[in-house]
Symmetry: C2
């Protein structure tokens, strides 16, 4: 069974209004509530393609209870005293977003979560660590979680950015999944519009500790760099909602670890196809397995 | 003890942002959560001036539980299955508001609330019915609550508008508190900028069934029309936040019923002073008793 970790969960609200006018009042015509956070999207995609998954992370207060109620995959979260954050997107044809800062996690709560995570690792086949970290967590939060997984013999995909990501590289995550902007932080001197630049940037992350690097490049597809070389996967041209495509990519990567001994070319194909299948669905964290199967055949994979 | 009724409770959220820009994303710097709804403001003002109060109404879901947690006055709500609505105000110097439509209340839930309300009436000294009604309630919802209170010998203040207010007048609420716009619905032919027009409009509401009519006219003060005549109360010139001033007015009116046999001139003085004290505080539902005492002496009351 795969374990997904979402430290910065959210209650995602979408408000439909006729037209947002600054400094006016609006009657919201429809409200959509959804369990949010990148790791929860990963968990939902895994469940959609039939992979066994358990979601964990931090939840607090009534908003946290609401997130748990709305979540339709098996889960086992650790509690915090603060209220889980909300995000509000006002939709009037285009989107205006408001992100709450979220709770401050206490050192004691973090310690309890790490214990909880340790207790969940035995018997797991792979772990996905996704998204930003809430306030109050130590700089080495992801490093601690990567180390614990490795010590338990469970391979890890890490999809994060900023200082928490940087600090976790030395702990040796099996797979990391930077997008182009995240890769650029490690390669300000490289030209990432060409594949050779991406490969060189990925090699830096591998030197820093990552096992494989999967660079997600949006509609350009993705490049997998591992010990055997590099493969590029390009999906067919599609249009849709790219939000959550990166999480679907992570779902493919952690599923590959779950199935064991993944071949770079096949991983690249699955990840590109599952990302593309996510783009076809309006809601992040949703995929149709039939789209995935069909797109898999349409992805072009080349060794680079 | 006074009973306040809030059928359309809310979780009021205020988001502080630097500047709202349509179709952009915003990091919210501070989030304020508050138990919202006009009747809850009335209850809070009563508690602030030391009057014994119990708040009731409808609450549902995790949002309803959060409202109950945040409410700092004694309360005894009836449950509904739907999620209590949220309101979001984005503050960037001025306010942009988003009002969720709120839950649909089922006939069975309404029946249970009416039973609950009946059980709370014995021993109560006065009832305040405040604000809009949620979807799903019958047109005579307030009429039913007014009638029940009268049958139990408990006097009622009704502060509402629209069809639910219109339908409740014939049930004979002891006091109603229309503002100028609400009064205008009953007096499209009268000139409400002069006191004589307000008095004539108030007489129409009395003929329709209301005992006393207290017309709240913002900075112009208020006019109390009862069986003994009419009194006008004008507060000193103050500036502040007028949101919730009407609820403070209702608090004064229901407190007067609680204390028994109110004299029109004294009611007018208290109501104008308590409304003005609410304007001085930034948050709706809050008053400083010292402001109330001081302003009471500064209100000018005249028989008109």
């Amino acid at each position: 069974m795969i374990l997904t970790v979402t430290l910065n969960t959210a209650l995602d609200l979408t408000y439909t209004v006729d037209a947002l006018v600054r400094h006016e009042s609006h009657r919201v015509s429809t409200v959509t509530e959804r369990a949010g956070g990148k790791g929860l999207n990963v968990a939902r995609v895994l469940a959609a393609v039939g992979a066994p998954v358990l979601a964990t992370g931090l939840l607090g207060g009534r908003t946290g209870e609401r997130v748990a109620e709305l979540l339709d995959v098996p889960h086992d979260f650790a509690p915090i005293a603060g209220e889980t954050r909300r995000t509000v997107v006002v939709a009037d044809g285009d989107a205006t977003g408001f992100w709450e800062p979220g709770p401050e996690v206490t050192p004691g709560e973090w310690e309890l979560f790490v214990e909880h995570y340790h207790s969940l690792l035995p018997g797991k086949t792979a772990v996905a660590l996704s998204g930003s970290v809430p306030r109050g967590l130590p700089a080495d939060a992801y490093a601690v979680l990567v180390t614990a997984a490795r010590e338990a013999g469970v391979p890890v995909v890490l999809d994060a950015s900023g200082p928490a990501f940087a600090a976790a590289l030395a702990a040796g995550p099996d797979v990391v999944k930077p997008n182009r902007d995240e890769l650029a932080e490690y390669a300000p001197d490289l030209y990432l519009s060409v594949d050779a630049g991406v490969r060189m940037a990925a090699d830096r992350l591998r030197k820093a500790g990552a096992g494989s690097v999967v660079a997600s490049l949006g509609s350009r597809g993705l490049i997998v760099v591992d010990g055997d070389g590099a493969h590029k996967a390009v999906p067919p041209v599609i249009s849709g909602n790219p939000t959550g495509a990166g999480d679907a990519c992570v779902a493919a990567l952690v599923r590959a670890l779950h199935e064991g001994a993944p071949d770079g070319a096949e991983v690249a194909r699955d990840a590109a196809a599952l990302s593309a299948a996510a783009v076809l669905r309006p809601e992040a964290g949703d995929v149709d397995p039939a789209d995935f199967a069909r797109l898999r055949a349409d992805v072009t994979v080349t060794a680079i």
